[in-house]
């Protein structure tokens, strides 16, 4: 079945379909990670995005029952160079193609993904439309143009959980799967702006009783849960329109509660502290990004997935920069100096990507211990 990808600027890539028939528009972004397509597809942060993976063979290890970051595929579409003839991995239970079809995803393969990546690098992330099956190229181009873009789009609210729930699954280990956490020591409320499961798992494995709450749950209700710490999750879209979240976070900061934010959560902490965010040209999406811990000078290889960023130049006096990207010097971590709140732009929970930033979770736990002592 033929398929096409048309970008808003009219650039066309012809390939073949590896998902269902139809067409879909979204923001086209590229991710340079060579492994972890299952995690990427199921990461809620990819809502409204058509993701292209720069590694040419995608689907080599199939899909398994353990590696999803949520209950479904959130990416709006998938764009790859080659879907291999067969998957091969001892944990695989399903092929990628079958997964895409069962999740009703439109996807295209067989295109020059390197050229697409260069295009995005040069002209910036932009709307696009994938069509599979029978289509009129003109309509597809129009569809691409109709997509409004992510700026100003509050998606956290859209993907967040409707009601609060407890999460007690711990981290994954080869051979034994996910740990079942029975004993907990810290009561953590995690705002779900589109949270990845591995964040919750890493909290649970560190003894957190994780209470996942909707994005718009008011601060007073959160406080009523008597938390030892607040977690601000990752998520899709622009942080700026999430005024409800910003307001709630401001209240919680004032309570001097330990707060840890990741990705969108980091941007919201910045906004709540009166820093400013902006949309990046094509963002950071990959698993090889060097980030320097400004305190120790040590460099970490991190997993990244963001299209918006907190602007370091706008940091108020009560926020200090803690991490910086060595790729483009952009701000990667902040910390309040007047309150136990900190956040990280990349993904310390990895999944996919290197796991070496996990010390930030330990830092959060230590903050809670310290706060409890007081």
């Amino acid at each position: 079945m033929p398929a096409i990808l048309v970008l808003a600027d009219g650039t066309k890539f012809r390939g073949y379909s590896i998902g269902i028939e139809g067409n879909v528009s979204g923001e086209v972004v590229f991710n340079t990670a060579m492994t972890g397509y299952q995690e990427i597809l199921t990461d809620p942060s990819y809502t409204e995005q058509l993701v292209t993976l720069t590694y040419p063979h995608i689907g080599n290890t199939g899909i398994n029952s353990e590696d999803s970051e949520s209950h479904k595929i959130f990416a709006k579409g998938l764009i790859i160079r080659d879907l291999p003839i067969i998957e091969s991995n001892f944990r695989s239970t399903l092929s990628l193609a079958n997964f895409l079809v069962s999740e009703k995803i439109i996807a295209i393969a067989g295109i020059d993904t390197r050229q697409l990546t260069k295009h995005i690098r040069t002209y910036g992330a932009q709307p696009g439309c994938i069509a599979a099956g029978i289509f009129d190229e003109k309509d597809i181009a129009q569809n691409a143009n109709k997509f409004p873009g992510l700026s100003g789009m509050d998606l956290a609210k859209v993907v967040s959980t409707d009601k609060e729930y407890l999460f007690s699954e711990g981290e994954w280990a080869l051979g034994s799967g996910y740990e079942d956490i029975k004993k907990t020591s810290y009561n953590v409320v995690a705002y779900d702006y589109g949270v990845k499961k591995n964040i919750l798992r890493m909290l649970a494995s560190r003894g957190c009783r994780v209470n996942v709450v909707p994005a718009n749950m008011p601060a007073n209700k959160v406080l009523a849960l008597n938390p030892d710490g607040i977690f601000l999750s990752n998520g899709p879209g622009d942080p700026e329109p999430c005024d409800y979240a910003i307001k709630n976070i401001q209240t919680l900061i004032n309570e001097k509660l330990p707060i840890f934010g990741i990705c969108l959560g980091h941007q919201l902490l910045g906004l709540a502290s009166h820093a400013k965010t902006h949309k990046m040209k094509f963002g950071h999406h990959g698993a090889n990004h060097p980030v320097q811990d400004l305190e120790t000078g040590k460099v970490f290889i991190t997993s990244q997935n963001h299209g918006f960023a907190v602007d370091e130049k706008t940091l108020p006096d009560n926020l200090k920069a803690t991490h910086r990207s060595l790729f483009d010097g952009s701000l990667q971590g902040i910390s309040r100096i007047d309150s136990p709140a900190f956040s990280f732009q990349g993904h310390p929970e990895a999944s996919p990507g290197p796991t070496e930033m996990s010390y930030l979770f330990d830092k959060f736990i230590n903050m809670m211990i310290k706060a409890k002592k007081k």
Binding site: T32, T54, H57, N60, D82, P84, K298, V299, L326
Partner: protein, 1067 residues
């Protein structure tokens, strides 16, 4: 932490000669290290015995010592140069072992030299099997179940707990030397014996077999601030049981999920930390059970390795350069990633958007007695790497890049039993048998069951076979643009497509070009296009957009030599690199085409542009089409580009230097003969035979002994000396297939002739002799296998003069522009021309180092239009010191192979010894090739009847040197008649106790063993093999033995001298 200021000078130890398991990759790493440290202002001192390396070019270090890599010698260098530190991680196992020796003998302490890049403790921990295992346990990583043994008795005792098959790995050896897989007790004992011998610490690791498990490698770099990055993950297509160096490998790893990959990533970093690799690159090998993902650590190398060279070329990340800078205190975040023009730091992990395939190249045709089954001991002599956007494309490009007459998955067999056997017990051609298996109807499951190759790869290969069936149904006229695009996208070569469709390669190409279908070129940029790159490191693929962006500059393409093989190795890469450097200096834009990941030529910063593509007519034509060069150099990369010359010329490719037609005139027997006749020069009497009968008839005319060989061969393939008609009949029956198209050449063999090699340069008008080399072994031993001396050590001045005249005549007649090599045989005053090659020869780097002028550079400039006079190369340079080149052989790796020298080349590498006298240079050349001349003891002599007189002076010398003499009966009689005391001993066939018993009992210290005809060779095989196995110094030629006596007579202590100081005195 920034650059260390407390050290000012650094000694880099090289890897020595090219041997199996240690090849050009250490020239790549050493050259990068030299450049990196010099760039930082350190005084760099270098020791390496291998003259054919770029790293030993005098410009690369401040003081370059071409000396044996042996602690006593290195100690003298340290004494003389007084370095503050030693960097031992760039020269493979040789350098590490030398560093450990220097430490053990107190040299480091005495001269207060610090090891940088690796500590003694970390080397020990990584290399000592027991310590390594314990270390892995400490960090919670599983290893294969294993036990350590230090003797045969102990080995037998502990083996019980392991079971068969078991893997035997000797400690502190490289390339799995001495190790193997034992399926039964007999094999176990044999391998243990060999392994104990090979291990310098007499230690073996006996390990549970993980046969059939998947194998992976991780390339890791760590700095002093504990910043760790993974440069590349590699997955072996061949599962456990085949040495990584002999395995087809693919980057990045294909069949790991992110979770599994991250476990391996974290584990490899933990390994570096635990072992204590504080700065630099290492590789860590893992094995994974495909059933449940259980992961075990196999081993690690605390230094740059063959895999790091591969990882560097596969990703564009210069591991050796970075490792050298980390060793002097820099941290990763302080260093820039060159390939992105410094936009990004070196502290990141390369991500790639293509697939890399490496396939090893073997040389079993040279060693027919060797066991060609692949095991844990490395047996390949070279490798090819290729890059494609998909596995299929990359894999098929690698197949054709190997140059083994396979332009794809060619058919090997349709015998199902043979196929299954090859799948189960892998040999050098297993991958083609996988193709045959599918052709013969075996299912993917069957093939998996037999080979344990991951189904992911098997499906890909099966798909290629299915595609081949489809191609067979096409013809040029039924193809359309979409078909051919899809076929080319899977990596099929034009010639394979033509073969399958039953047409000519040219027809496929013409069709493809008629629809304007050319490959595009993508860039290797370390970042999957996330950042812009100006570095033109390119590979071909069939995609939409081309990123080549060729310039309009005046440019020269240099065609490289492809994978290393016996007869074509690092020497040719050296020449290609020099051509590129010289022409860049002269203002040209230079473009390199090559596919050998080990080499310096495939470093992205050697040429202005690098095309990492197979060196085949199709691939080169496409690049020429894209680049439109002013000139193309074909005479530097050995036979590989030379073979393409005709095809390129037919496509009007502007070849510079000697014209293809003149090259052909030198290679074509009849044309060349005519030229010699016209010039009034002599050849040994010779004839060409097209039938066995004709051969016998011609043989009678010429007279025996004869050198016989098939026409058009490289490295003396199937070349033999025959002494009588029955010999010749056997040869015609067994060794060659003679026909009209492939005639056999018969040459009169010149008894006791000296062989002379000459390298010369011509600019088309003037001709200058680069060097005259007198071979030590007599004519009949392949020139690549003989030792030689520059200047000649016994050749008369008159003969030298005459040789120069003859060389110049031939260069003129062949219109040589560039390099030319001539081989002469000299019998008394008679000079015979054996061969002329109007191209770079194996000896060019040796001569250049000996005389202090870069011949390859000068010749490249000649090809580009400069005269010799403009380059101040007007007369021959005769240095006031001796340089001796000695060949190095892989016999120890091939049990069962006779280590005798003959007309067929068998050496893998070479060393150079430099001395004030021939004797000193000769000893050093022997020491450099790990031949230690004994100081006394018992010498055993056994020579042919015709040598009975010639052996006498050797016997006298040995006697005077204090040796007791032992000889076989005939030889003993001759010696006794000469009035010397000698003990007679039985030949093997004469009953026990015989000479081999004595060798085995360590009673013999020196052996001279000369044999010739087939039978005598077979009879004395045991002598040579046991001498080799028991490390007894032996010579199989009178000339070699005589030179050894001269060497042993040299009484003074060996002196060391840098090339820079030597060149100063000769200029």
């Amino acid at each position: 932490m920034a650059k260390r200021k407390d050290i000012k000078s650094i000694l880099i130890i090289g890897a020595g000669p090219i041997i199996i398991g240690q090849a050009c990759e250490f020239d790549y790493s050493g050259a990068q290290a030299c450049k990196a440290l010099k760039e930082e202002g350190y005084r760099v001192i270098l020791v390496n015995s291998n003259p054919a390396t770029i790293m030993t070019d005098p410009e690369l270090a401040d003081a370059t010592y071409i000396e044996p890599i042996q602690w006593q010698v290195v100690s003298r260098i340290i004494e003389k140069e007084n370095p503050d530190a030693i960097l031992p991680t760039m020269g493979g196992q040789t350098a590490l072992n030398c560093a450990l020796d220097l430490d053990k003998h107190g040299v480091l302490k005495k001269f207060n030299v610090e090891l940088i890049g690796a500590s003694k403790e970390s080397i020990d921990k990584a290399e000592d099997r027991q310590k390594f295992k314990e270390a892995m346990e400490r960090i919670g990583l599983a290893s294969a179940r294993s036990v350590i043994a230090h003797s045969i008795e102990e080995a037998i005792q502990v083996q019980d707990g392991i079971g068969y098959p078991s893997i035997i790995r000797p400690s502190f050896t490289m390339g799995g030397s001495g190790g193997g897989i034992a399926y039964n007790k007999e094999e176990f004992l044999a391998i243990c014996e060999r392994g104990l011998d090979a291990s310098p610490t007499n230690e073996l690791l006996i390990e549970e077999s993980l046969l059939g498990w998947k194998e992976y490698e991780m390339e890791v770099v760590r700095d002093s601030k504990d910043n760790c990055i993974i440069i590349c993950s590699i997955e072996n297509l061949d599962p456990m049981g085949v040495h990584t160096g002999d395995s087809i490998t693919v980057a990045p790893a294909q069949t790991l999920t992110d979770k599994e990959y991250q476990i391996m990533r974290t584990a490899s970093i933990d390994v570096l930390r635990e072992i204590g690799v504080n700065t630099g690159g290492s590789n860590v090998q893992f094995s994974i059970n495909p059933e449940d993902g259980r992961m075990v650590v196999i081993e690690m190398n605390p230094r740059v390795s063959r895999s790091s060279a591969l990882a560097s070329k596969a990703t564009g990340f210069p591991i050796a350069k970075i490792a050298a800078k980390l060793a002097v205190g820099f941290t990763l975040d302080e260093l820039k990633n060159d390939i992105t023009g410094g936009q990004t730091p070196a502290s990141f992990e390369p991500t790639i958007d293509y697939v890399v395939t490496k396939i090893p190249r073997f040389a079993f045709e040279k060693f027919p007695q060797a066991d060609s089954r692949l095991t844990t001991q490395m047996k390949s002599v070279g490798e090819v790497m290729s890059i494609g956007r998909t596995f299929q494309e990359s894999f098929q490009k690698a197949l054709r890049g190997l140059e083994t007459d396979a332009d794809g998955l060619v058919e090997y067999s349709n015998n199902i039993d043979e196929i299954i056997k090859e799948l189960r017990e892998p040999g050098p051609n297993r991958i083609w048998f996988v193709g045959d298996a599918f052709r013969s109807g075996l299912s993917i499951n069957d093939v998996f069951k037999h080979s344990k190759i991951d189904p992911w790869f098997l499906y890909q290969i099966n798909d290629l076979i299915l595609t081949e069936q489809e191609i067979k149904n096409f013809s040029i006229s039924s193809l359309n643009a979409e078909h051919i695009f899809n076929i080319k996208r899977k990596g099929f070569s034009d010639s394979r497509i033509a073969h399958l469709m039953g047409c000519m390669e040219e027809e496929v190409r013409n069709y493809r070009h008629s629809i304007n279908l050319h490959p595009v070129y993508k860039r290797v940029d370390t970042c999957a296009a996330e950042f812009e790159t100006k570095t033109a490191y390119l590979y071909s693929t069939y995609e939409e957009t081309c990123e080549s962006n060729p310039s309009n500059n005046k440019k020269v393409i240099i065609i490289g030599g492809g994978p290393n093989r016996i007869g074509q190795g690092i020497e040719f890469d050296y020449c290609c690199v020099h051509a590129s450097l010289a022409l860049r200096e002269s203002g040209f834009e230079t473009i390199m085409i090559n596919c050998n990941p080990e080499t310096v030529s495939t470093d992205y910063d050697i040429s202005n542009r690098l095309y990492f593509d197979p060196v085949t007519l199709e691939d080169v034509l496409e690049i020429v089409h894209k680049e439109k060069p002013w000139g193309v150099i074909v005479q530097y990369g050995g036979q590989t580009p030379l073979k393409l010359a005709k095809g390129l010329a037919e496509h009007n490719v502007p070849i510079i230097g000697t014209l293809p037609d003149d090259i052909d005139a030198a290679e074509d027997r009849e044309r060349f003969q005519k030229i010699l006749v016209d010039l009034n020069l002599r050849q040994p009497p010779n004839k060409t035979a097209r039938t066995p009968e004709e051969a016998i008839m011609h043989a009678e005319d010429i007279g025996y002994p004869l050198v016989v060989r098939p026409s058009y061969v490289l490295g003396g393939r199937a070349m033999e000396i025959v002494h009588e008609q029955s010999d010749l009949e056997r040869y015609m029956r067994e060794a060659v297939k003679v026909s009209n198209d492939s005639p056999v050449l018969l040459d009169r063999f010149l008894n006791d002739a000296l062989e002379i090699d000459v390298d010369a340069i011509s600019d088309g008008v003037d001709i200058v002799i680069g060097g005259i080399m007198e071979h030590i072994e007599q004519a009949g031993v392949h020139s690549g296998d003989s030792a030689c001396s520059l200047p000649p050590y016994s050749l008369s001045k008159e003969v030298q003069k005459e040789i120069i005249i003859q060389t110049k005549k031939m260069a003129k007649a062949l219109n040589v522009i560039g390099l030319m090599n001539v081989q002469f045989a000299v019998q008394g005053k008679n000079i015979f021309v054996l061969e002329v090659n109007p191209r770079a020869s194996r000896t060019v780097p040796f001569v250049s180092k000996a005389i202090g002028r870069p011949l390859a550079k000068i010749a490249a400039n000649c090809m580009a239009g400069k005269t010799l006079a403009q380059q101040n190369m007007v007369k021959e340079i005769t240095p006031p010191f001796f340089s001796v080149k000695e060949a190095v052989f892989p016999f120890i790796k091939f049990p069962g192979v006779d280590p005798i020298l003959g007309p067929e080349m068998k050496s893998t590498g070479e060393v150079m010894g430099v001395g004030k006298t021939f004797a000193e240079a000769f000893i050093k050349s022997q020491l450099g090739s790990s031949v230690i001349l004994p100081k006394g003891g018992k010498a055993f002599l056994s020579v042919r009847k015709e040598d009975h007189l010639k052996v006498l002076d050797i016997a006298v010398s040995l006697k005077n040197l204090g040796f007791k003499l032992v000889a076989t009966k005939g030889t003993a009689k001759a010696i006794k008649n000469h009035g010397l005391k000698v003990e007679a001993v039985n030949k093997v066939a004469e009953g026990r106790p015989h000479v081999v018993d004595m060798i085995k009992n360590d009673e013999i210290d020196f052996i001279v063993n000369i044999t010739e005809d087939k039978r005598a060779i077979a009879d004395s095989y045991e002598i040579r093999r046991n001498a080799l196995q028991n490390k007894v110094t032996y010579y199989t030629t009178i000339a070699g033995a005589r030179a050894a006596c001269v060497g042993m007579n040299y009484g003074e202590e060996l002196d060391v001298a840098s090339l820079q100081s030597l060149h100063k005195i000769s200029s």
